[in-house]
């Protein structure tokens, strides 16, 4: 039996070239080596890959010549026998060898090479980066959708879909994912609202309203009525007017709105105080527009500021407050007789006495009598018992080793104590008669029934100019109505300004308060504007020790503006001598 080998090739134009040849012999060798009967020019094929032979029954036997298998009719195998009449296809690399039986008994082997793309027609496009990258359009859409969802849809949807549209820091009614909308940290005062945008941004597309601010800041004082503000400001420049017109179109409330000055989201920290320019734009020439104003013009603390004025009790015994200009000659009459110079002397009797008492130094200093408030901003009113009495004793009697002391601040009580003091000598109510035994003077049961004339004399003496009360107080009246003038101590002297002693702690008291040279309690020992200007100059005076903006001493919204009428302005009524308790000291 012989094999008829039919190779079918293709020309470049696709035309088939069919070549037939016969192979004599019982074995057909197939492989890459040129010595084979059928040469398969495919590198995937072994040099001697398969041999085909006939078995005794005329069947074709294919055997792998190496340990490499071959594919026959789709199955990988190393050894197969088949009837050539049925046929079969041996696949080697890209070649297929189809076996069939010719009518003349020859076994026909059709060798055919599969089409192979050597030059990839699309390869040119693969030079471009596009073949190695994801589609730009897809990426772009994914990015757009992700950003719009996360930064727009979620916050807007949760804002609109809230059941209870109330501001709340937590819970299901909170707007989700709106932290990404915050343009910056809130000031420290508003830190608690950091995650609660809807507390201020109440309605969509509506600017933050004053009423929202005032819902918390209920007690904020108005700087001035709106109409006076407008007059003081004067006409806007055309540029400002245009800007406010545009702002009005966008729904801003106007130049008087809270948010005009108080910008938020400027970063954690204190809310920035207004600049000097902000105040001076109105106050520099305000009297020209607001003719009835009591305020002097000011635009720079160092160069243009009215003299300081203090709120004092100008008339002895009167609760009425008047303002005096601090020109170095200002006086007040608070009702105490207290020469500062005498008490601060280092050489006189006061100093000697201080030196003898264990709680004082060689001489008195300010802090011996003036105690700071807890916040150390100011000073507590001078208190007789703690600040004066260690020298100015109110002792009037001694029983055994115990001293009896008058109660300070209550004239009626003082009067009663002195009247009831029975050790003062009294004239006997009878003359010539003496009581017997233990009832006589010096006896165990002696009672002095005489008139307490000496006691009344003692009271009158105490309340006189030279008496124990008159030492510090101004006596008033005589006889049964004798008393002392009420005392008014101010803890704050400034109506519109603010002073912090704590901030000036490195200074000596006397550098501002000329107490060591003051011989009269009526001297108002407050510094003048010139004294302040030793250190403080205007905001732009960079070479000054302390360049000072208006906001250093003044607040646009005075915190106690409304509360001023309520709080105690002086010593509580029960501390006032000469006034029966229950009557209003501030009348």
């Amino acid at each position: 039996m012989t094999f008829l080998i039919r190779t079918i090739d293709h020309t470049a134009s696709g035309r088939e070239i069919v070549r037939d040849r016969e192979v004599e012999g019982a074995t057909l060798t197939i492989g890459r080596a040129t010595t084979n009967d059928v040469v398969i020019q495919d590198l995937a094929v072994e040099q001697h890959h398969v041999s085909a032979s006939f078995d005794e029954r005329g069947r074709v036997k294919l055997e792998a010549q190496t340990n490499r298998d071959f594919a026959f009719d789709g199955y990988k195998t190393g050894n197969v026998q088949f009837d050539p009449a049925t046929g079969g296809t041996l696949a080697l690399g890209l070649y297929s060898l189809a076996f069939a039986k010719e009518p003349d008994g020859q076994v026909l082997v059709i060798v055919r090479q599969e089409e192979r793309e050597l030059g990839d027609r699309d390869a040119v496009r693969k030079f471009d980066l596009a073949s190695a990258m994801p589609n730009k359009r897809v990426v772009a859409w994914l990015g757009v959708l992700a950003i719009l969802a996360a930064f727009l849809a979620v916050p807007v949807w949760t804002n609109l879909a809230r059941a209870d549209k109330q501001p709340g820091a937590d819970g299901i009614d909170q707007v989700a994912w709106d932290a990404s909308w915050s343009t910056g940290k809130l000031s420290l005062a508003h830190h608690a609202l950091e995650n609660n945008c809807e507390a201020c941004h109440v309605a969509p597309f509506v600017s933050v309203r004053d009423e929202t601010c005032l819902s918390c800041h209920q007690d904020i004082g108005d700087h001035a009525p709106q109409n006076r503000l407008a007059i003081s400001r004067g006409p806007m420049s055309s540029g400002d007017a245009l800007l406010w017109q545009i702002a009005d179109v966008f729904g801003k409330e106007g130049p008087e709105a809270c948010t005009t000055c108080h910008t938020e989201h400027e970063g954690a920290g204190r809310m920035e105080p207004a600049a000097q320019q902000f105040c001076s734009s109105c106050h520099e020439t305000m009297d020209a527009r607001l003719a009835d104003t009591a305020l002097g013009n000011a635009h720079d603390f160092g160069t243009d500021h009215p003299e300081l004025q203090a709120l004092v009790h100008g008339k002895l015994g009167s609760a009425k407050l008047t303002r005096v200009t601090l020109d170095g000659k200002a006086r007040e009459d608070h009702g105490l007789r207290f020469p500062h110079a005498m008490h601060l002397s280092t050489t006189n009797g006061v100093a000697r006495m201080a030196g003898n008492l264990p709680e004082y130094g060689e001489a008195l200093v300010c802090a011996d009598c003036h105690r700071p408030t807890d916040d150390r901003n100011g000073f507590l009113p001078v208190d007789m018992e703690s600040d004066c009495e260690s020298c100015h004793s109110l002792v009037y009697d001694k029983v055994g080793s115990t001293f009896r002391t008058l109660r300070h601040g209550d004239v009626a009580q003082m009067r009663a104590d002195l009247i009831a003091m029975d050790r003062a000598p009294r004239s006997p109510i009878t003359s010539g008669l003496r009581r017997p035994g233990e009832f006589k003077r010096g006896g165990r049961y002696f009672q002095d029934f005489g008139r307490p004339t000496q006691n009344y004399i003692g009271i009158a003496r105490a309340l006189s100019q030279e008496g124990v009360c008159g030492e510090c107080h101004v006596p008033t009246g005589s006889g049964a109505t004798a008393s002392v003038m009420p005392v008014f101590q101010r803890s704050h002297y400034f109506l519109n300004g603010r002073f912090d002693h704590e901030a000036h702690v490195q200074e000596d008291c006397t550098s501002c308060h000329a107490a060591d040279t003051s011989d009269s309690a009526k001297d108002l020992l407050l510094p003048t504007l010139a004294t302040c200007r030793d250190c403080h100059q205007g905001a732009d005076a960079v070479e000054a020790d302390v360049p000072s903006t208006c906001a250093m001493c003044h607040s646009y919204h005075p915190p106690a503006f409304r509360g001023r009428k309520k709080g105690p302005q002086s010593v509580p009524p029960d501390r006032l001598a000469g006034l029966p308790s229950g009557r209003d000291a501030n009348r």
Binding site: L43, E46, Q47, V124, I147, L152, D178, W181, S207, E272
Partner: protein, 299 residues
């Protein structure tokens, strides 16, 4: 266009070529004697000057009147700059040439970096507003890179081509492959395997990193070359001649692949910025919409 961005010293021939090219081709960068470059520079300087002069209390931010003005200007610029994507697909409607449009796109796009940054008042944070700014800056930076490579790389591309078209490169590789396949027929199994591996190698299957790395990397062809190396003693080997032939063809194949890879690398460098510029532009437009709506939503 390369010649118009700074000089070059490649020698006489290049100068001549470029001169010839310049005479009949005006780069979009130099369009109308750098009209848009000048305009954009004036705009940027004006914005910087006003930023320094305008007094905003307590400090500059996007929410002042000046900030809103710059924001409006910036948003308008972004919308117009993005419009190039639509404009370039339309063949010259109106009087604006695409070159003029592109020139304006490049220079106004660069000035947008100043407008947008001044709009922020340098108040940046982790929020959608800064996201928009970051995206804007990335788009501008990628665009600047794009202009740079457009000015420099096309020369490298044509130098590498050596008068060959890309089709010719592929055809050359195919021809080499056919030769290689024939030449490798007498080789041993072991040697054939490495040749087959080289033939099956997909030169174009390279990902972004491989493309950017360019030629010279270890691949199947070089491995085959190393395997069938000259170091082997073939004197008594019958297939020595075939091996020599295969070796020489593999060498040709390797340098052909290098040329293709160099081409792909340059193309990748030339095109990569668009994969940042275009998707980020869309992301920027989305962030810009979110930015503007959110600002007025929480007004």
């Amino acid at each position: 266009m390369a010649s118009l961005i700074g000089g070059h010293d490649e020698g006489e021939t290049y100068a001549e070529i470029e001169q010839r090219r310049s005479s009949d081709h005006e780069s979009f960068l130099a369009h109308r004697a750098f009209f848009w470059a000048k305009l954009a520079a004036i705009l940027a300087l004006f914005v910087v000057a006003t930023y320094l002069l305008v007094d905003v209390e307590p400090r500059h931010n996007g929410g002042s009147w000046y900030g809103y003005t710059l924001g409006t200007l910036g948003a308008g610029l972004i919308a117009w700059l993005a419009w190039l994507g639509i404009r370039k697909r339309r063949p010259t409607p109106g009087s604006w040439s695409l070159a003029g449009w592109t020139s304006a796109h490049v220079y106004l796009g660069l000035s947008l970096a100043v407008v947008g940054t001044m709009h922020t008042g340098f108040q940046l944070g982790w929020n959608v507003h800064t996201l928009a700014w970051v995206l804007m800056m990335l788009v501008i930076l990628s665009g600047a890179y794009g202009v740079m490579v457009y000015a420099t790389l096309p020369r490298a591309l044509s130098e590498n081509r050596r008068q060959m078209t890309r089709e010719q490169m592929i055809e050359s590789l195919s021809a080499i492959d056919r030769q290689l396949e024939l030449a490798a027929q007498p080789l041993s199994r072991e040697d054939t395997d490495v040749v087959v591996e080289a033939l099956e190698q997909d030169v174009f299957g390279a990902g972004l990193v491989a493309r950017l790395r360019g030629p010279g990397g270890q691949d199947a062809t070089r491995r085959a070359l190393a395997h069938i190396s000259t170091g082997r003693a073939y004197d008594d080997d019958a297939s020595d001649l075939a091996q020599q032939q295969v070796r020489s063809i593999l060498g040709k194949r390797s340098s052909q692949i290098d040329q293709i890879r160099r081409q792909m690398r340059t193309k990748a460098l030339l095109e990569i910025w668009l994969y940042i510029h275009v998707p980020l532009t869309f992301a920027l437009l989305a962030a810009l919409v979110a930015h503007i709506i959110s600002v007025f939503y929480y007004w």
